[in-house]
Subunit: 293 residues, 2 copies
């Protein structure tokens, strides 16, 4: 009411300031993405009513501009704005502890919004020394806590971490042993390990380059070099498919000619960043003269 | 004030009904998880004030009971309850389009809340027929839209889907060609492909068992069997590391003795569900007589 009285002083016809899209002070701060969409990263607190007005005006403008996917990132401190965004038709896309990402697909065509992350990635590290002893630990928490079972070091691959770097890091963190990465011997996929997500577990073989164990206090109950046969003779190892495969793969690698995948640096398609391709490099590099002219 | 007057009518001393934990009607519906925690799956709408009171009472009870991780799953329709949960100290854990999962760690000890999913998983499918022709497509969207580049079928592995099943499915969806899975030839990891998440891309080799192409209308502009040398001679294939590796790996498989990883069914550690281990099965099964007594 107060607003319309103010406008009546002016002689120009009333216009929809929000829809006109020219009053940038009334729009949310946004930047274009590479796929015809827009990203809004909210950082500072905003009054929910003002946020609602700006969001409405911005959506109207983006619609006129033919924008596709609209992303809004809300830090958890701005949780009071989540409801406003959802009521405008946004869906959740993903969340991390301190923020929530929402997305809205404007066009009538099918959405090409990328899928959310679906997998966690883990590593297990077989570290065998020249005396055929394997580096093993007992963990302070988890499935085998308090059971006396000795297992190889394992851990989660962090976001943006290379698999082979994660294996080296986990061994170092748990035991202070330095290693060189040799190969991925195998990997295993399994499903619904937590909620609807899946896990990929990469079994890695590493060569130790230091030998004095110093166990990590927080997570590790005990750590040692254990004769391989003693490790393999544990009932839990003999009775479970995955553990049996781990020992079989280790023996195949050490005593026969088993070849896994090793990392090869390659340049990215889009920029010159280096990433890694994991392949059977010895087979790939072997050029059979019989097949060549 | 009204409340305390009502209580004064009664002769029993005032008690904190919420903290006592015996008035189940005042608690949120919850079930125990396998890790000493509790899961609340909210399904029906609830008045925010009532929700707040029940959450407070429930947290008090769980604290007394020594519960650890508290999970609350809120469907997007109950977005009006999110702020209440966050104000009680919960963090976001993950989100999917239609729900948000929040978590709170009660103990003073370090949290063992599992990490969120960090990777998306994709597949590329090399399908080669007996005439050394490779199954290729042109996509209606994406990086190569409108460029005339022919590429192998690719796609995203769904949550809870096996990698080898995803490769078979993508080929079928895009071209109607039926295939048998042979091997994973290699995989590639790269980072920050979308926001902070990483991608794992598995290059698969499949054998066609049907040959009449019928392209999918929605995503595929064109599909054909293309002589392998013609595919490999495309400038984009020759000029990019990843594409060059794809052709090298394909030739190594077809013309030499390249061995990748193939899926082996294994039983789960916890239940008898079948999952798959991917390994160099021919190396694993080969028992070199020289090494055996």
């Amino acid at each position: 009411m107060v607003g319309s009285m103010t406008v009546s002083v002016n002689s120009t016809p009333p216009v929809d300031l929000y829809a006109s899209g020219v009053h940038h002070a009334e729009l949310l701060p946004a930047s274009d993405d590479d796929h015809g969409g827009v990203i809004v990263e909210m950082k500072e607190p905003m009054d929910p009513d003002m946020f609602h007005a700006k969001l409405r005006a911005s959506l109207s403008l983006w619609r006129q501009q033919g924008k596709k996917g609209i992303w809004i990132k809300l830090p958890i401190a701005l949780v009071n704005l989540v409801e406003t965004v959802v009521k405008k038709g946004f869906q959740y896309h993903h969340a991390e502890p301190n923020y929530l990402m929402l997305v809205y697909w404007i066009p009538d065509t099918p959405s090409t919004i990328p899928a959310n992350a679906s997998h966690r990635v883990g590593v297990g590290a077989i570290v065998l020394n020249d005396k055929r002893e394997v580096l093993v630990v007992q963990e302070k928490s988890g499935k085998f806590q308090g059971t006396g079972v000795w297992k190889i070091p394992t851990g989660v691959v962090d976001e943006s971490e290379e698999i082979f770097m994660a294996a080296i890091r986990e061994v170092k963190e748990e035991t202070r042993i330095d290693t060189e990465f040799l190969e991925i011997l195998a990997f295993r996929q399994w499903h619904k390990s937590f909620f609807e997500k899946s896990d990929l577990f990469f079994l890695c073989m590493l060569r130790p380059v230091s030998f004095d164990i110093e166990k990590q206090e927080l997570e590790i109950e005990a750590a040692q070099w254990m004769p391989f046969e003693e490790y393999a003779a544990q009932p839990v190892v003999k009775n479970h498919d995955l553990f049996t495969y781990i020992t079989d793969l280790c023996l195949a690698k050490v005593d026969r000619n088993y070849t896994g995948f090793s990392p090869q640096p390659i340049r990215s398609l889009l920029n010159d960043q280096i990433s890694f391709l994991y392949a059977n490099v010895s087979d790939l590099n072997q050029s059979s003269s019989a097949d060549r002219p």
